[in-house]
């Protein structure tokens, strides 16, 4: 997709609740990078800095009976679904109170109807199965699955598109097109477009080029209703930007590309547009996350009862 002009337009005011969530995710992710930097976290993690608004926008469009299938870059997806930064941080740090007792970690969360996995593409057929079940048992509910642009290289994606379209399933595929997969720019790994691929399967495609939550919801609400009630699978493609490294310290992009992304960061744009509302909320969420980091870091390691 081409450069979104809309991203540089002044962002309209968002509800306090939405702004709080955006900032919670931002500070949560920054805190993780900081914890890694200080050697407090093991393994790896992928932060969604720059992409926070995608799950926040979708939050109002999804309900409790809907399934959400997340991927490796899923902290924002989780926090938009559950107001539970403590549980997620504890999970990542392997501390008491962890959502999955610390056995899942950053990429493998399972809670109610929320599932994430780190293997790219493989959750699409699984989401398709969940959608088939929902169609039969809970009309009006849908399965939502998040994937990156790079993941469109995986064959499983196309098996799922075919099945979902053929069987008219309530499947919502949310593409976070951030222009890069690890170190490989999209132009070097994708022939054609996401739109044309979706269309080839008779699946409707809708592109989003703004980070304005209200506009996104307004555009998507009728389309999502069609997914729910008419069994029309939908691909929503967000043109977005990954501001940080792929995981930690592995950003291979030239500085001007990162600069370009930063200039489009909702965070700066929003701060400029609504300085007072922003400053208050930013400070509050920063403090909230700092307190959570302190609390969770001090907890004992998580455990579980294998016989429970």
């Amino acid at each position: 997709m081409t450069e979104p002009a809309a991203t540089l337009v002044r962002l309209p005011r968002a509800a306090d609740e939405d702004l709080d969530l955006l900032l919670l995710i931002r500070h949560f992710e920054l805190a993780l990078l900081d914890l890694f930097g200080r050697g407090e976290l093991n393994g790896t993690t992928h932060t969604c800095v720059g992409q926070e608004y995608v799950p926040v926008a979708l939050r109002r469009l999804l309900g409790e009976t809907d399934y959400v299938f997340s991927n490796h870059r899923g902290h924002g997806h989780y926090l938009a679904r559950f107001d539970d930064p403590e549980g997620l941080l504890a999970e990542i740090m392997g501390r008491e109170g962890a959502v999955c007792n610390g056995v899942g970690g950053s990429q493998h969360i399972l809670r109610d109807r929320y599932v994430s996995t780190g293997v790219q593409g493989e959750s699409l057929p699984v989401a398709t199965g969940a959608a088939l079940h929902l169609k039969r048992t809970a009309p009006g509910a849908l399965a939502c699955v998040y994937i990156g642009d790079g993941t469109w290289g995986e064959g499983a994606v196309y098996e799922a598109l075919n099945l979902a379209s053929l069987w008219r399933l309530p499947l919502l595929i949310v593409v976070e097109h951030n222009g890069i997969a690890q170190s490989t720019p999209t132009a070097r790994q994708m022939a054609g477009t996401v739109r044309s691929r979706a269309q080839a399967f008779g699946v409707r495609h809708h592109g989003i080029e703004t980070s304005d939550l209200n506009a996104i919801r307004h555009e998507l609400a009728p389309l999502v209703a069609e997914v729910r009630f008419e069994g029309r699978p939908l691909v929503v493609e967000f043109v977005t930007h990954r501001l940080g490294p792929h995981s930690k310290g592995d950003d291979t992009r030239p500085p001007e590309v990162v600069e370009h992304a930063r200039a489009r960061d909702w965070y700066g744009l929003y701060a400029e547009a609504h300085p007072e509302q922003f400053a208050r909320a930013d400070e509050a969420q920063r403090a909230r996350v700092a307190a959570i980091v302190q609390d969770v870091s001090a907890r004992p390691l998580s455990g579980w009862d294998p016989c429970a």
Binding site: G43, Q107, V119, G153, Q182
Partner: protein, 324 residues
């Protein structure tokens, strides 16, 4: 002699292979500009160009399938699977195409494809990034399966693998990538399908490959202080298996402990235990014992020390071998 890390030794070996034979190609996710997540292919795209070091989309099945097609036309592709846990989307191409085509054609079709897979845990990574899937491939007739354990072997084994006309799954011990050792860049090395006695001993034979070789050498050092003499064998090739070296050792020591990171249940150690009992039955003083991972998904990083076999677990098995 040059001091190299294991990752750099592989890099040098690949470079040599590419210099020697213009049909050698490298392909995989982020192998070009980035040089691979572990930098094993670092600098190769710069020096050999984008036609020979190919950054692919995320498409494991496509990578292996394309490599098969290239190999059919005389190329020698070296594919990188980014992490052990990401090899499974390529399972059909590996098991049904790559392994079977040469056998089905009674050897008329040769497929000199090398599939490099960083495997095993110990780097604090998660599930999919720490697994040991070797037994899936040793179970597949038609594939060679090898694992290097140290920089010197890494350097020669990767070159031998590239020269070999058979498909090879080449396992690299990811937590040993940063281990350094002297490497003789002129040496030919032990043939690819041979095991090697890396430490001589007379009481118990320890069988290992990849990352566990170092653990076993350390265990042998510790056991020596307690007056026990452990022989350590680096299998190097899992399929085919060099049973002569294994049996020669076990017949002398009478006791054997197999060590790998993969789950014990139907792991590669099960095959070793069965073969040894078939071939060395009258020499055995105790059953062949196995030390390995548990039958669970690979645990999160905080728990991996409990999961991975370590010196204590190896020495405990050695002790048990004397209780029969």
């Amino acid at each position: 002699m040059t001091t190299l890390t294991l990752a750099k030794a592989l890099n040098e070996g690949l470079r040599r292979s590419m210099e020697d034979d213009s049909k050698v190609l490298v392909m995989g996710e982020d192998v070009g500009k980035l040089g691979g997540v572990f930098r094993v292919t670092d600098g190769l795209q710069k020096d050999f160009g984008e036609d020979r070091v190919i950054d692919t989309p995320l498409a494991e099945s496509g990578i292996i399938g394309t490599a098969i097609g290239l190999a059919l036309r005389g190329y020698r592709p070296v594919c990188e699977i980014q992490f052990d846990g990401f090899v499974f989307p390529a399972a059909d191409q590996l098991i049904t195409q790559l392994a079977k085509m040469p056998l089905r054609s009674l050897g008329k079709v040769r497929l000199p494809v090398v599939v490099r897979i960083p495997f095993g845990g110990g780097i604090g990574a998660v599930e999919h990034h720490s697994e040991s899937p070797e037994a899936y491939f040793t179970h597949t007739a038609g594939l060679r399966v090898v694992a290097c354990s140290n920089p010197a072997d890494a350097y020669t084994m990767i070159q031998d693998a590239v020269r070999c006309d058979d498909p090879i799954i080449f396992f690299e011990p990811k937590r040993r990538y940063w281990d350094k050792a002297e490497v003789d860049l002129m040496a030919a090395g032990v043939p690819l399908d041979r095991a090697r006695v890396v430490r001589q001993g007379s009481d118990v034979t320890l069988l290992a490959y990849g990352p566990m070789v170092k653990t076993c050498i350390e265990a042998a050092g510790a056991a020596e202080q307690e007056g026990r003499s452990l022989e350590v064998i680096d299998l190097r090739s899992l399929s085919p298996l060099d049973m002569d070296v294994v049996a020669g050792s076990v017949e002398r020591t009478g006791r054997c402990v197999v060590v790998h990171e993969a789950p014990v249940f139907t792991g590669f150690g099960a095959e070793l235990a069965a073969r040894i009992s078939e071939r060395c039955f009258y020499h055995l003083e105790s059953p062949v014992l196995r030390v390995g991972g548990f039958s669970t998904p690979y645990p999160p990083s905080r728990l991996e020390d409990h999961y991975l076999p370590d010196l204590d677990r190896v020495l405990d098995a050695v002790d048990r071998a004397f209780t029969y």
